[in-house]
Amino acid sequence: MKNTRNRPGRPDVMKVLADARPDALDPSLLVDPTRQREDLARIVDEAPDGRVTRFLAARRRSGFRPLGAVALAAVAASAVAVTTLDWREPADRPAAQPRSSAATELPGAGEDVHVDGHLELLSAAEQAANSADQGTYWQTTTRSENVDVAGEQGRLFAVRSTSTSEWSVGVRPGTGSLMVSGLDSLTEPRTAADKARWRAAGSPGTVRVEVAKKAGTGVIGYPMGTGRPMVMKTNLNDKIYAVGPRNVSYKDLRALPSTSGELRSYLERAYATDNGAESGTSGRSAWMLRQAADLVTMPVKPAVRAAAYRVMADLPGVRVTGRVSDPLGREGVGVDFPVAYPTPLGTTRERLVVDPSTGAMLSDQVVLVKASARAKEAGLDAGTTVNYEATTRMNWGERQIAVPKNARS
């Protein structure tokens, strides 16, 4: 804005004022970098938008999940037939790989095994399954459940919320990505005993649940009964997924490195740019595991999927357990996260279950390691799965999924 009233030799009054700004208001002098950094970490630790999302994100301590309770996608339906067990990708295995000694050990012996056992399977699948590798919509259906404790002290009861989600990611130019979550959504007392307590509390339509928040705990209202599905668009122009802090297009996904060494470097670089990522060796392992497990469920090349499993297998602190059942009763290999997180229900640990015969990621669950007094009172003991997302379908489709008429957007 020009000052037409300036007299000659006299500075613009706005300039005089600008020069007079107290140093205490100088942005560059004001900032406390520690506080700035801590605030950022705290803020993004909560997923934006949506109550359930926020809640789950807090539970899982996942960094950046714009939306929670959705598609636990699984491994490519293309990664199927197991043809040989001894196929190896020679160039890819580091010479001094301490775990490779276990590489030929077959999973399912009832002992701890390493993921390497089925890496061969994946590599074989990679050889066998190139045909069904591409389509128009990458579609997954997942079933999820979340358990919580509600009610008043001394009369606590557990509630469980279940729902189905469908996610259809368009990978061709001009196709969009849609996610429909909360299908068949139902919140109800977890067991008959819980139901009795809920009734004794007057069968409230909304129960109060304590959840982890960015600072301490908070209480949210949880409507009982059925809920409406929600639909949302999940792509940002041609970006269809996130890998760490980066959004990626289908082209980016197809260009991912297909050897475990290169893929690990790619993820390590992404980790380095992720300000909100967990720190420390096990935090880093957890981050890498999460990203690799996510990759496995995206429409990447079969070789990339195989490489992602190898990356997972070599992460320090990641424990692989043979023969476990996923929450839907399907058998697989358990992959435990290297860190445990405190929640209002107690200490929890996240576990993935992988089907070694197909290379499919079956489920992602949160298990109570040590139950809090609150959880115990409501009948939740150590070993209870308090949250899971299990994939029931994953394949390519040629048409976009239908959106239910009653869906919220």
């Binding site: 005089v16 004001l30 934006p48 636990l72 496995v296």
Partner: protein, 193 residues
């Protein structure tokens, strides 16, 4: 959830890195350093919750959010607000411990701050948004929730009043033999309204 959805996190981090200092400076000018940090934190929490729809440029919108949060604080906790606003006044009036310093640059600054402090709150808010927080007329209008045309008129008048006040401040100093003192915070004016 596996197969992670597209994230707005990078955009948020960019906005955060770029705008945090200026949001903090703005909030500090309204409610002082300590409360200002809390307001800044809350501002970015709101931004994160709406990460998909943060306007470009983000700063005017962020300052608008911060301003609303300050007004909310004022309604919710008048006592805390008053204490915070008093600290902000002390900061904005350039109150300093080394009052004896009368170098010419410092006296100019004191004149300007004294002149500013004598203006109505609405003028002060508008003038500082532009001169201290670096906004253009259009951006300032966005923060204050008025049209650019309205803002231009208000700014024109505010500048004239500032010029007059500056002349008065400068004249009273030269007329006085004693060193300049920090201007007193004007208590009669309230919050950004």
């Amino acid at each position: 959830m596996r197969g992670r959805r597209v994230t707005h996190a990078q955009r948020f981090r960019d906005v955060y890195e770029e705008c945090y200092p200026r949001v903090l400076a703005y909030a500090t000018s309204l409610v002082g350093r300590q409360t200002g940090e809390d307001i800044t934190s809350e501002t970015f929490t709101v931004a994160w919750q709406r990460v998909g729809s943060i306007p470009r440029p983000a700063l005017p919108w962020l300052l608008g959010v911060a301003r609303n949060l300050v007004r909310e604080l004022r309604r919710r906790d008048a006592h805390q607000y008053l204490l915070a606003a008093e600290e902000a006044q002390r900061i904005s009036s350039g109150a300093r411990t080394d009052v004896g310093d009368i170098a010419s640059e410092v006296t100019d600054r004191h004149d300007a701050l004294q002149a500013l402090a004598s203006l109505p709150e609405a003028d002060r808010e508008l003038l500082t948004l532009i001169a201290w927080h670096g906004l253009g007329a259009r951006e300032a209008a966005q923060v204050l929730g008025c049209t650019t045309a309205t803002l231009t008129v208000r700014l024109y008048r505010a500048r004239r009043r500032l010029e007059k006040a500056l002349e008065t401040a400068s004249a009273s100093r030269t007329a006085s033999a004693s060193p300049v003192e920090a201007p007193h915070p004007t208590r009669h004016e309230g919050a950004p309204a």
